[in-house]
């Protein structure tokens, strides 16, 4: 597989959107101000739309997409359905905000919306789990996608909360972020182990190619350094209760997004079929 840019951005933006939506929902419990929620909700919607748009770019005949409605079992149907449901929930959430609905109502919407959002974050990775591509044939792959969505959600909430002074919220977000970062690291390592022991070993999908071969810059630079280490060090750069400046928080989010995209590129490069003829 080459670098499937449209799919890289599709899945990365969907991760950002669903992650942000869930994170904004979580912030309901941290009693954040309405601005954060409003902006968060809008950001989630924009990211989902950007993801959806990228996926359409990937299609040869987007005008025929309605043909997919007749086949609810396909992965693409699942993805489209979940994007739609998550988007609907985000819209409902924004309307609720706008109409000054009670926290209870908003929380309820957030909880309901979290379900398709989490499923979506997982599903965009799960579609790639297939026996034809040994390096993708593991549930660890959608786990990376899911956790990367969580990370993007944490960091985008970090940007939204950058002017927030409420210490408990800042602390909670920072610890959550660090936890997700650690989890992401663990799952990425676990994924590499899965790749290493996958059947039909082949040089095109070997861990050696990732660690020391031509994918090493992408892995060490993109996934590890930019995607994990930079956000981690930015997160712990200031004392726990102090929020990051907007610039630093934004930088951390951009880095994590680059890291997410890098991992996807890595995945596509490893995604060679069992035997490739052509």
């Amino acid at each position: 597989m080459g670098n499937e840019w449209a799919l890289v951005f599709f899945t990365a933006f969907v991760g950002l959107g669903s992650g942000t939506f869930v994170a904004v929902g979580v912030s309901e419990w941290w009693e954040e101000d309405a601005q954060v929620r409003l902006r968060g909700g809008i950001l989630a919607l924009i990211a989902l739309a950007a993801g959806g748009f990228s996926s359409v770019l990937h299609l040869g005949h987007p005008e025929r997409i309605f043909g997919a409605l007749g086949h609810p079992t396909s992965g693409i149907f699942m993805e489209a359905l979940m994007i739609g449901l998550t988007g609907l929930c985000a819209v409902a959430y924004l309307i609720a905000l706008r109409r000054g609905a009670s926290g209870q109502v908003r929380k309820r919407i957030a909880v309901i919306g979290a379900v398709p959002a989490i499923l979506l974050a997982f599903a965009v990775g799960d579609t790639y789990v297939m026996a034809s591509r040994p390096a993708w044939d593991t549930l660890l792959l959608p786990m990376v996608y899911l956790i990367s969505a969580a990370l993007l959600g944490c960091l985008s909430l970090g940007v939204l909360m950058a002017r927030q002074q409420k210490a408990e919220a800042v602390v909670a977000l920072k610890w959550t972020t660090l936890g997700v970062l650690a989890l992401q690291g663990v799952v990425v390592i676990a994924y590499l182990v899965a790749v290493a022991v996958a059947p039909y070993p082949n040089a095109t999908r070997s861990v050696i190619r990732v660690l020391t071969g031509n994918l090493a810059p992408l892995f060490w630079g993109g996934v590890v350094l930019v995607g994990l280490l930079v956000p981690s060090s930015l997160t712990i750069a200031k004392r726990a209760a102090a929020p990051l400046p907007v610039a630093a928080a934004t930088f951390a989010l951009v880095c994590a997004f680059v890291g997410a995209a890098s991992f996807r590129l890595l995945m596509f490069n490893l995604g060679t079929s069992v035997w490739h003829f052509f």
Partner: protein
């Protein structure tokens, strides 16, 4: 149920690329795209004790075709004869089926923006003829027929070859139906994907 497919006798394949060109002529396949591609397997071993055979690769017409399963619109489908086909009029060009194929046997038509692959020349079958690659094969190495029918030429050829000499590509649950005959006398069947096949764009 019928399952029409190819049986390719590698003891007989001369590596002449006739099937490849016949396919391209018959189906107007674009440059750099192949429905049928002949790979050179080997020479393996160390000079002068070496072995080599040719592997004409083609859609494996899987019994449990993953490309059909993942297709979001039903554009990839299976005929009553067990042949996997693509309805190009409803293909949305998502290429998911290309990912699902364990052999990379499908390709994207950049002009029509749809996925395509070997059709076993269904348009020729419809008028009672064999696929172009079978008809023109110089080594008479290719047989086409119903592998589920014990009386068919393909079934007989497989029986005559003996099970030790009958091979198929790795099965990851898709159950490929194309069979390759290769006797140890000619060469040893290579279990893993070959590295140098004499074809540049391979492994790409």
């Amino acid at each position: 149920m019928a399952h029409k497919t190819l049986v390719i006798d590698l003891d007989r394949c001369l590596g002449c690329f006739s099937c490849e060109v016949a396919c391209k002529m018959e189906n107007g396949v674009a440059l750099g795209v192949y429905f049928n591609k002949v790979l050179t397997i080997g020479p393996t071993g160390t000079f002068p004790d070496v072995e080599m055979y040719f592997l004409p690769t083609v859609c494996q017409e899987c019994a449990d075709a993953p490309c059909v399963k993942v297709c979001p619109t039903g554009a990839s489908y299976k005929t009553e004869d067990g042949i996997v086909l693509i309805n190009k009029d409803i293909c949305i060009g998502c290429r998911y089926c290309m990912m699902a194929c364990p052999y990379g046997a499908r390709s994207f038509n950049n002009d029509a923006k749809v996925v395509e692959k070997c059709t076993l020349c269904v348009h020729l079958q419809a008028i009672g003829e064999q696929p172009a690659c079978v008809k023109n094969c110089c080594g008479k190495a290719r047989l086409f027929g119903d592998i589920d029918d014990p009386a068919s030429d393909v079934s007989k050829a497989l029986k005559a070859a003996g099970s030790d000499a009958v091979h198929s590509l790795p099965d990851v649950g898709n159950h490929p139906s194309v069979r390759y005959i290769l006797h140890r006398k000619t060469a040893t069947w290579q279990q893993s994907q070959p590295e140098n096949t004499g074809r540049e764009s391979q492994n790409g």
